[in-house]
């Protein structure tokens, strides 16, 4: 299950939704808004997305992940809109029989989201506002051999 959300991400509900009776392991990654970006003091972040393409790519990431690891449930949710320090921006959660798969697949999910999903972050700091440069080079390289390129 993947989604772009305009409201608060409910982490306990996500955990409950990835749990299955077959699962011995769940790994949950939570990305939050931190109060600094290097030396700059951050007050809030605004996330925007190209929503239909973002959800399409997140679905493709889930399929790719399932082809690489044997997992039970996968949830990826990214929030958009204005977020304050401490707010949850993204959650990736994976359940599996054993921990290796859950950890690796959960890491893969967030790495891929950061590399290829069309979401943008603008920082509002003490010295003004600024679009964040993401991890696009890694993403572009992934893309060339990945399932998402034409």
């Amino acid at each position: 299950m993947v989604s772009i959300s305009t409201s608060t991400i409910n982490v306990p509900a996500i955990i409950a939704a990835v749990a299955t009776p077959q699962s011995g392991a769940m790994d949950i990654f939570i990305g939050t808004v931190r109060n600094n970006s290097g030396a700059r003091k951050i007050s809030r972040l605004e996330y925007s997305a190209y929503v239909p393409m973002a959800e399409k790519l997140m679905t493709a990431i889930e399929l790719d992940l399932r082809s690489k690891w044997s997992v039970h449930e996968v949830i990826m949710v990214h929030r958009v809109g204005m977020l304050e320090v401490g707010d949850v921006a993204v959650v990736t959660a994976v359940s599996s029989a054993h921990r290796k798969e859950a950890f690796e697949a959960c890491r893969f999910a967030i790495d891929q989201i950061k590399s290829i999903v069309p979401i943008w972050k603008k920082e509002f700091a003490d010295d003004g506002e600024m679009w964040v440069e993401g991890e696009h080079l890694e993403g572009i390289q992934e893309m060339k051999s990945g399932p998402f390129s034409a």
Binding site: G31, S48, A54, A89, V90, I110, V117, K122, W131, F148
Partner: protein, 82 residues
């Protein structure tokens, strides 16, 4: 001439001051010729050429991709989600 609507996001939206721009262009029409037409109107876009990606109908495609009337065309600056 075909009509192509191009969507902009993130920092590119600040440059063109719009979410979407409508272009009238002669076929054959590619990502490259779209970008070139946009740079004439918004010279500031040119510095984004190395890092921006083209998406057509919600998929990343090379800039050589042929664009047809009705395609959803988007310029994707470096993503920074998470």
């Amino acid at each position: 001439m075909i009509n192509v609507d191009v969507k902009f996001f993130g920092p590119l939206r600040d440059i063109v001051r719009s979410n979407e721009i409508s272009l009238e262009v002669p076929p054959p029409h590619s990502g490259d010729s779209t970008f070139d037409a946009l740079v004439v109107i918004y010279p500031e876009l040119s510095k984004w050429r190395p890092s921006v990606r083209l998406a057509v109908n919600f998929e990343y495609v090379p800039f050589t991709h042929n664009i047809r009337a009705g395609d959803e065309v988007s310029l994707i600056p470096p993503v920074s989600g998470g």
